[in-house]
Symmetry: C2
């Protein structure tokens, strides 16, 4: 079992543009400072660079807000075109407040503003460009993983992460939105404890624990540290999915009624 | 700014008993394997060893359940004496389900079963002994920090952590319950991003990100790895408190109505 886990920033990742080969860039920048991937490493990508490489960008001047977006924007005080983009990225709206739309994002998790963000996108002709989350974050993670493995010759896992707020607690934390090559949950129910009792119902979200550790070092997207390599993480290999982490609706004790979309 | 963060298990921590000098034990076991604390390290303690060293243990055969505990236990299917202990440790009850009481624990955070746990306590004469969270986890963290600093001569921060479930997502993650020597929240609102925009309202819960990273390596309390040393964490020094992390009731969008205590 691992006794030590190290999170390391891949330095020198340039601004990413649509079509960029992110795995190739990561391996190039690692090589430039003498880093190399090892079997079992977990490579963590901030969602923003994945979204940009996939061209998930929308100039707001191409968006016409719907009546619902106009209505919502009266509460959020957002640009109504931003709320239009958020609503298009959402399965359900849960809360509407000044500065905040809490939704079920199309992938199925609950988050603020459907992950749509306007920070850190190059202004083109002064127009505001927003980034959307990857269309299928697990597929993006698998694609990054496959390409990293093919180029490096070693087997790694990949997480795509974003920072999410939480119920009951202040502050955002790094949270998994896409998974490849690891099982996000570890079921410790069957493991005997030190005295031979069995632990109570305990399922650990390994992926979110790794995501949070990586996020601490990464900081926010404006800091230019969007890729972290984790060595010595405790995880189980396998083809997991972010869907494993999303709580089944019937078992969710805190989910509010949906509002009109 | 740190480019690398390493989490390391302190090996060989023995079973902890009431009155044990936890910092002295940690430093002794670190020295035995050639480890030494450095200025700026964060030392992470699992709540269970802190609770045991402080004697926060209750043999269930000393507990007489109240009428409310008997009523609650019909739903939880817990031993009613366990629910009595949980209710005594709670400010409010939020949800009652089979196997689960979600409460505001006396410290103010929302968690399952008020952190009361029966796993991994030495059975004495066959009686069931449960552990409670420290009475004042920040005070416990400060006491551990002061003693570690006095014995080692270096300045470190301390977190006491437990694993908590989350709304909307499956699996527990490592979560801060006590803080000394660091500010748990980092306010990134004023920091310019790569293009000179300002990030949107972003407060990062650094303490919970570090707690989750440490928990990943620690595993559950039955695994005998209750102390982790974190080197190279990004945090701001200061006298923080877990109270900084607890969301103000009026700002909590997901908090349900309290049930009778």
């Amino acid at each position: 079992m691992e006794n030590s886990t190290t999170y390391t920033v891949v330095p020198g990742i340039p601004l990413i543009n649509p079509g960029d080969d992110l795995p190739q860039i990561v391996l190039r920048e690692m090589a430039a400072v003498g880093m190399a991937l090892q079997d079992g490493d977990v490579v963590i990508f901030a969602q923003k660079v994945v979204s940009k490489s996939e061209g998930r960008l929308v100039p707001l001047d191409t968006v016409v807000p719907s009546a619902r977006a106009l209505e919502v924007a009266k509460v959020t005080e957002h640009d109504p075109r931003l709320d239009e983009v958020i609503l298009r990225e959402s399965n359900e709206v849960l809360k509407v407040r000044k500065g905040l739309l809490i939704v079920e994002q199309r992938t199925g998790f609950i988050c603020a503003n459907a992950g749509v963000d306007r920070s850190n996108i190059e202004p083109a002709d002064g127009e505001i460009v927003v980034s959307l989350l990857p269309l299928d974050p697990d597929a993006s993670a698998r694609s990054l993983r496959d390409r990293l493995c093919a180029l490096s010759g070693v087997r790694v896992a990949v997480l795509i992460i974003d920072t999410h707020g939480r119920a009951f607690r202040n502050g955002v934390v790094g949270t998994t939105i896409g998974v490849a090559g690891l099982l996000p949950l570890r079921d410790a129910r069957g493991e005997a404890d030190l005295f031979g009792f069995h632990l109570q119902h305990t399922i650990i979200c390994t992926a979110d624990e790794i995501a949070a550790g990586a996020s601490m070092l990464m900081g926010q997207s404006g800091e230019g540290r969007p890729v972290i390599v984790v060595r010595g993480a405790r995880y189980e290999r396998g083809e997991g999915s972010v869907a494993d982490i999303i709580r089944e609706r019937a078992l969710d004790l805190f989910r509010p009624e949906a509002l009109p979309l």
